[in-house]
Symmetry: C2
Subunit: 349 residues, 2 copies
C-alpha cells in the first residue's frame, strides 16, 4: 500500500547551507508541504548548532540585530557562571537558559515532487519571547486563498502553537500563539464546517501527571481565537500508538469523512504513522482508525540516524487517489512515500 | 495591612452536608465570591469521598443517572482487576482510572460577609467526559450583566479551564473548555479593553520539562474562543513565588492599573498571596509587583490542615478602598481577610 520513493532520503543535512558561518546543520526534520505556482514546496525544519570547540561551549540564539537574525554565544568551559545542569540540549549561563541547537524553517521547491532545491538561507526564524528557542514542525493549510502556517513555538516559557499566514510566501503576517503551552502538532482543517474553523492539536501531559498525550479538536470563528476544546483521539495501551499521538498535516476531505494521517509513538519512542477518519459534518466524531500502522520505520534511514526508529509527517499533498506523504526519518533526513487514499480507507476499522 | 476575620475559619468541612449518604466532606477549598441580590455569596469547592471500609475500596464518580448526580463505586480489596498503582488519590479498575475524592461547587450566602449559610446539596457538579473527576476552584466575574464562571475541569484526560455563565444562579449555560490542558487558575477581566475580553490563566509545566508554572494572559472576541497567548508573570527564583504562580479572582480596576491578587508557591509548596499591577489599557504589561507576600500562612488554621502552609484565593469582593479576600486555608477551611487597596498599591515595586 505504501510506496517509498526510490530516491529516499530526498534531503540530507549535509547538503544544506548553514544560516551563517560557524554553524553546522545537524538535522532536517518534519517538513510542511504545499502546492504553489505549479510546484511542490516543502517548508523544512532545519536544526543547526555552532561548531563546538574544546575550550568553549557555544549556543545559538535568536538575535534580531544581526543580518542572519541569529548569533552565537560562546563561553569558556571554566566560566564560573556556566551551569551545564542535566539537559544535554543546552546550558544555563547567569541564570539564563540556552540551547546548543535551534530550528528554523526553510523553503525547498521541486518540479516533480522528488528532486528538491533548498533555499540557502532561513525562510522563517523565531521572533519574540515565545520563540527564543526556535520554530519547528510547521503545518501548512490553504484556507480561502491564504496559506496558514501552524508551528511549534519554543522558548524557555514552554512550547505552544504559533500561527502565521501568507499569500505569496514573501510577506508573512504573524498571528501570535494560538494554543498555549504545552501544546504542539496543530493541523488546521482546510475549510469551515458549519461556519467554524477547526483544528487538531496535542496538549501534552502536564508535569503533575494527570492527562495524556492525546489529539484534541477545537474550533474558532476567526482562526486566531480557539475554544470548545475536546479530546478526539486517545493513545491505545499495547498498540503502536500507546504513549503519544499527534496530528500530521491538514485533514483530507474524502467521500467517507476527513482523513488524517497522524503519528503515534510507543513506550520505546518508536514513531509510526496511521490514519483516522472523522465525520465530515462533525469532526469531533471519530468514525474509524488504523489498527496497524500505515508506515513503520523499517528502511535503514528510518531506523538509524539522529534519533532512530522515527517516521513523522506534517506534510501531505493530495492528487486524486494519491496521497504523497513527506516525512522526517530518524529526526535527520527528509523522505517521501505515496499511498492510495482508497486503500487507506479500506484498512480503517 | 491585612485584617483576618476574628471568626476564621468561617466554614469547616464538618458543618457541610455531604451530597449523598455514604460520603464524608473532607475539605472545603478555594471559593469564588460575588455580590448578588444584596448578599455576599461564595461558590465553595467541596471535596468529598466515600466512607472507606476495611474490605473494600470506594471511589466517587459522576453519574447523571442518579438523583444526586454522583454514585459510589465499591470494589473488594482482593478483586484481581483492582490496581492501586502509586497515586494515593485513587486507583485503576479494569484499566479505568478512579479517584476516591471528587470536588463539586456549592453556594453559600451571607448578609454580613462573615456568617455564611451553605446549601445542603451541590450547586454544580462535573458534566461530560472532561469533568469526570470533578470541578474545582471557580472564579466568578460579572461581565455586562452576566456572571461568568471559570473553573478547573478535571478528568483522566487532564485538567483544563471550563466556563459556564448565569444571570440568576438557577440556570447555567455551559460554554465548554476554553483553555486546553494542562491549565488552571483562569480569571476573566470584568470589562472589555479596546474591544477584547482578557483572561489570566496558568498553563502548567509539561512533562517534557520545558516551560514553567507562570501566569499567562490571553484575549478573546467573545469569551469562548481565546488566542494571542503571552506570558505575563513569571515565578521568581529565591522568592516566595519561586515555583508556581497563579491568578486569583477577577482583577480590580484601580486608578493606577488592574490590581490582581495572585498566589505563589515556593519549593516547599508553601502558598502565599501577593499582588501585581497591570496597565489599564494594555493588561499584558506588568507595572509593579509585590516583593513580599501580602498574606502568608501564619495562623494555626493556615499552617495545619489537610495540606498545611497554604493560603489560596480565587474570591475577592471590592467595596471602596476595602478588598475582602476569601481564601482557602490548608486546603481544608474557608477564611476571610480584608485589605486596604491603597495600602496594597503602596507596597508594590
Amino acid at each position: 500500500m505504501v510506496q517509498r520513493f526510490d530516491q529516499n532520503p530526498l534531503l540530507h543535512p549535509q547538503t544544506i547551507a548553514p544560516s551563517m558561518e560557524g554553524l553546522v546543520v545537524e538535522c532536517l526534520l518534519n517538513p510542511g508541504a504545499f502546492r504553489f505556482q505549479g510546484k511542490t514546496w516543502l517548508l523544512l525544519r532545519v536544526a543547526e548548532r555552532p561548531v563546538q570547540s574544546e575550550q568553549e561551549v557555544s549556543a545559538l540564539t535568536i538575535d534580531p540585530t544581526t543580518k542572519s537574525g541569529l548569533s552565537i554565544l560562546k563561553r569558556r568551559l571554566d566560566d564560573p557562571d556556566l551551569d551545564y545542569g542535566e539537559d544535554p540540549r543546552g546550558f544555563t549561563y547567569k541564570g539564563q537558559q540556552y540551547l546548543t541547537t535551534l530550528s528554523h524553517l526553510r523553503l525547498a521547491w521541486s518540479e516533480d515532487g522528488i528532486h528538491f532545491q533548498v533555499a540557502d538561507h532561513p525562510t522563517l526564524i523565531g521572533q519574540g519571547p515565545l520563540e527564543t528557542f526556535g520554530i519547528e514542525d510547521c503545518r501548512i493549510t490553504s484556507i480561502e486563498g491564504r496559506y496558514y502556517l501552524t508551528y511549534t513555538a519554543v522558548s524557555g516559557l514552554g512550547y505552544g502553537v504559533g500561527m502565521m499566514s501568507t499569500e505569496d510566501w514573501q510577506r508573512f503576517e504573524r498571528h501570535g500563539m494560538i494554543l498555549p503551552p504545552p501544546n504542539k502538532d496543530c493541523a488546521l482543517f482546510p475549510e469551515r464546517i458549519d461556519g467554524y474553523y477547526y483544528a487538531l492539536h496535542r496538549p501534552t501531559l502536564g508535569s503533575e501527571g494527570l492527562g495524556g498525550n492525546n489529539i484534541w479538536v477545537s474550533r474558532s470563528p476567526d482562526l486566531i481565537h480557539w475554544g470548545e476544546h475536546t479530546c478526539l483521539l486517545k493513545t491505545r495501551p499495547g498498540c503502536w500508538d500507546a504513549v503519544r499521538v499527534g496530528a500530521g498535516a491538514a485533514p483530507t476531505r474524502t467521500g467517507e469523512g476527513w482523513l488524517e494521517i497522524y503519528h503515534g509513538a510507543d513506550e520505546h519512542n518508536r514513531y509510526c504513522l496511521g490514519a483516522v477518519l472523522l465525520d465530515l459534518d462533525d469532526p469531533t466524531r471519530v468514525l474509524a482508525r488504523s489498527r496497524q500502522p500505515l508506515l513503520e520505520p523499517t528502511a535503514a534511514y528510518e531506523k538509524t540516524g539522529f534519533f532512530g526508529n522515527v517516521v513523522f509527517t506534517n506534510g501531505v499533498i493530495e492528487d486524486g487517489d494519491t496521497l504523497t506523504v513527506y516525512y522526517g526519518a530518524s529526526d535527520e533526513v527528509i523522505c517521501g512515500a505515496t499511498f492510495s487514499l482508497g486503500e487507506i480507507l479500506r484498512t480503517l476499522e
